[in-house]
Symmetry: C2
Subunit: 170 residues, 2 copies
């Protein structure tokens, strides 16, 4: 079962792909889709949408999970982040992937064990869980952590119901 995790952002959208085989998780790929801050918004949205499409076409995940975002102190930043997240979800549903959503708190609890973990602790735990030789970049780490969180929920639900499914997906 291959899972794609997305950490949305307009400047940089992190992605992480993992393979969940029973309880065992392994790393497939991760990275960041960047768009030029000086480019017009439709072009930035196009870069993000096409970038996620390429990731899906390349790694063929069966499930997707995306981090829920919070409102920023700057309303204009909230609007930009919202637009990036909307385009990212559009790219996932356009590829017919079921999409689950998790808050940063849920992801930290699933990966580190408590909701107050720092970004560094998340990256360290991602490195350990996926047996990586080094800590991934912060954007990739958050996206991989989101995928790991979804794998945990999925495995738990599979164990409970006797089959693999997620309740909050569409």
């Amino acid at each position: 079962m291959r899972i794609l995790g997305i950490d949305p952002g307009l400047r940089c959208t992190g992605f992480g792909v993992i393979e969940a085989s029973g309880q065992r998780l392994s790393y497939v790929a991760s990275g960041c889709i960047r768009s030029k801050e000086t480019a017009p918004l439709p072009l930035r949205i196009e870069t993000l949408f096409a970038g996620i499409g390429t990731v899906i076409a390349t790694y063929k995940p069966a499930l997707a999970a995306i981090e829920k975002v919070f409102v920023n102190v700057n309303p204009q930043s909230t609007l930009l982040l919202g637009q990036a997240r909307g385009a990212a979800i559009a790219a996932l549903v356009a590829a017919h992937l079921p999409v689950a959503e998790y808050t940063a708190l849920q992801i930290k609890q699933a990966v580190v064990g408590h909701g107050k973990a720092t970004k560094e602790q998340v990256a360290q735990m991602v490195m350990r869980l996926l047996a990586l030789p080094a800590a991934p970049s912060p954007d990739a780490a958050d996206a991989l952590a989101c995928a790991i969180c979804h794998a945990h929920v999925h495995i738990s639900l599979g164990a409970l119901s006797g089959r693999r499914r997620a309740p909050s997906t569409v």
Copy 2:
């Protein structure tokens, strides 16, 4: 030259399609893509994305214009509106349409002649410019007004440069 105007919103995204033949504008279609407020966000984004895709496949516009949105007093509403707008732009660029953006002020100036026009004045002017038998619904009126605004800019630029193009498109 067929133009699609979009007035983005998560509850209801208005669309309006017009045909610009020289200085003459005519009505093609308009309506609203609705999503259930109780549905999960990825499903609402999917409804919006697929709905715009259907409009494009049905009416085959050559150009698109979308209204710029403002930050709301409620940051959560700003985030939701941003996500709807991001998904709408994603649907337009996914169909390889060049996308122009206009503020409400620019649209009102182009359609009514001044930036302080009410929603009713915009709807009345849209009805008159497109020779409609009745005023369109508010959501459809704003989307048609956005398309009319883009037609005006496009015609003006065409007259200036001797060919039809828009500078703010991607």
